[in-house]
């Protein structure tokens, strides 16, 4: 997903700042899909957190560890089960939920091993996607959703509304949420999920178990 990654790196600071804003100082944090470890470095240096990472891509793991960050190679779908209950204050899953095999199980594991889960994902309910599907009758292609349906790793796309429903069904408390545009700037739809679902390019949620 070269287009996606380019836009990510450009917006990294703002995007991560929103996540970091949900984390209390000195917390124990696990960042799933931590890439090169930018967020855990930020959390360690600026908030004094004990922040660790889990990352599937070996090149990113090597880069993170070479940078002195505690990151292990592993798969969110299988490896979260190896951590004990309540090992972390926050478990972060940034723009990865849509790419895991079993999103609901990953969320359950996150809220088993962590007191809080912070989840961000690209919103498939954004108006540009809806319009493309309506007008073209084909799978939408945008900067975020930039690969053909047959080769995208994003096998479980969802909308902000879908995610609210899943949280309700699973009994998770949404302590905080917001919608943001692609560059990570907070979008002003805080009180209105339906509008956020239409205009927010990504959703960011802070969850805990009821």
């Amino acid at each position: 997903m070269p287009g996606y990654e380019q836009s990510m790196s450009k917006s990294m600071r703002v995007d991560l700042a929103l996540i970091a804003g949900m984390v209390k100082p000195h917390a124990r944090v696990l960042d799933i899909g931590c890439s090169d470890g930018t967020l855990i470095e930020h959390l360690f240096r600026n908030l004094g957190c004990d922040a660790r990472g889990l990352e599937l891509e070996m090149d990113a793991v090597t880069q993170a560890v070479s940078h002195g960050l505690p990151v292990m190679q592993g798969d969110a779908d299988t490896d979260l089960a190896t951590y004990p209950d309540g090992a972390f204050d926050y478990v972060v899953l940034s723009r990865t939920l849509q790419a895991v095999e079993r999103p609901r199980e990953v969320l359950r594991q996150m809220l088993r091993i962590g007191t809080h889960a912070i989840v961000s994902f690209p919103n498939f309910g954004h108006w540009t996607l809806r319009l493309q599907l309506l007008l073209n009758g084909r799978m939408p292609m945008t900067k975020t959703w930039s690969r053909m349906w047959y080769e995208t790793p994003n096998i479980h796309p969802c909308t902000i509304q879908d995610f609210f429903r899943l949280c309700a069904a699973e009994g998770y408390v949404v302590e905080d949420w917001l919608a943001a545009d692609e560059d990570g700037a907070r979008a002003p739809w805080r009180r209105f999920p339906a509008l956020a679902n239409l205009f927010g390019e990504q959703g960011l949620f802070l969850l805990k178990k009821a």
């Binding site: 070996m58 505690p70 292990m72 190896t82």
Partner: protein, 377 residues
């Protein structure tokens, strides 16, 4: 061979009170041969212990006095290297049971000091090796090692250090390691031991009394082991089906290059290694099972550990495969330990940990730098 064991004087220290062993016996005298590279700081907080592998020794980063070859890990340990001797005091000791100056089967028998232990040397374990190293570290006035680093059998010792002395190890780097020796690992070792025992020159382990060494048996043991240290891809890349001194296979007597390579590996080994040491140390590796004493399995070995871990495996290592390192990583996860884990892509097999692997060296350097920051070094 005129002089199978050149008598080199190794720098060493004696511990006259000996060492109690896992087998229940006690060595009445203990000598540990070791080397230190770099300087200890005033707080003695910058020490890194390097643990050597089965056929390694304490000469990590300098010319080996017996073979004249460069230090076995001089790509990793040295000034400006990933384990930087400009910043850290790097200690390496010949393991208990070894043949490079530390107490082992070649050392004088406790009861009959005029002859060596030979096969009477008590069976030792990886944990015994670590206890011996702990004596040395205590003697050097080091209360906490900044790091313990080792590959293969050295990785076993590194894990044992972290499990036995968690408060004395700030960071641990087991490389190409495992938490227990598998049936396949034991099987290959047994071939080596049988080859040594079958050599008529072995004389039931009392070859020293006859002035001979079981060279052929030891060479076969080394040849078998060597195959397990390299990958099929590496052997193919290096040798393929190339012939020694011939362009095409013309006679059945022609030799393949890989054969003469293996024979060279075997013959160079017997000049520097004691057969009884080989038997003692392969057995120690076979006995290694970090999880065995713990009801909760491997995780139990690391319960409450504050040590920072870096596990490194190599993709083509089939002797200590990635799955073994991953199992250790999962066990460390289970106790919420701080663990980094990297599988380095390499086609060089188990031996990759000794060779030029930039990704490994970069990872190790970064991990140590990160830990140094956390340790306030």
């Amino acid at each position: 061979m005129d002089q199978p064991f050149p008598e080199t004087l190794h720098e060493s220290i004696d511990f006259p009170d000996g060492l109690a062993l896992d087998c229940g016996r006690r060595l009445r005298s203990l000598t540990i041969a070791y080397r230190v590279y770099g300087l200890l700081n005033a707080a003695r907080s910058n020490a890194i212990l390097v643990c050597h592998a089965l056929t390694g020794d304490q000469y990590v980063a300098e010319t080996n006095p017996e073979t004249g070859k460069p230090g076995w890990w001089d790509r990793v340990v040295g000034p400006g290297q990933p384990v930087d001797t400009d910043k850290f005091a790097v200690i390496c000791a010949n393991v208990l049971g070894g043949c490079m100056g530390t107490t082992g089967p070649r050392s004088p028998h406790d009861d009959r000091p005029d002859e060596p232990w030979g096969t009477d040397f008590p069976p030792v374990t990886i944990n015994d090796m670590v206890r011996a190293q702990k004596r040395l570290i205590d003697h050097l006035g080091i209360s906490r090692l900044f790091a313990v680093v080792g590959g293969s059998m050295g990785g076993m010792q590194t894990l044992a250090w972290a499990a036995m002395y968690p408060d004395h190890v700030f960071a641990a780097v087991p490389v190409a390691a495992c938490a227990y020796h598998s049936a396949q690992n034991i099987a290959f070792h047994e071939i080596g031991r049988q080859a040594i025992a079958a050599d008529p020159a072995f004389h039931n382990g009392r070859y020293w009394a006859k002035g001979v060494t079981p060279e052929r048996g030891l060479a076969v043991a080394r040849m078998t082991a060597h195959i397990t240290y390299v990958s099929e891809a590496a052997l193919t890349r290096k040798f393929g089906r190339k012939l020694q001194d011939a362009a095409t296979l013309s006679e059945l007597g022609d030799r393949f290059e890989v054969e003469s390579y293996l024979q060279y590996q075997g013959s160079s080994f017997v000049r520097r290694f004691d057969a009884n040491s080989y038997l003692t140390m392969t057995r120690a590796m076979d006995l290694f099972d970090l999880a065995a004493p713990h009801e909760t399995g491997l995780a139990g070995a690391f319960a409450g550990s504050k040590t920072r871990f870096l596990l490194v495996s190599f993709s083509s290592d089939w002797l200590f495969p990635t799955a073994q390192s991953r199992a250790i990583a999962w066990a460390l996860n289970a106790v919420a330990a701080n663990v980094s884990f990297v599988e380095v892509k390499s086609d060089k097999g188990h031996d990759a940990f000794l060779l030029d692997e930039p990704d490994f060296h970069r990872t190790l350097a970064g991990f140590i730098a990160g830990c140094a920051e956390h340790a306030g070094l």
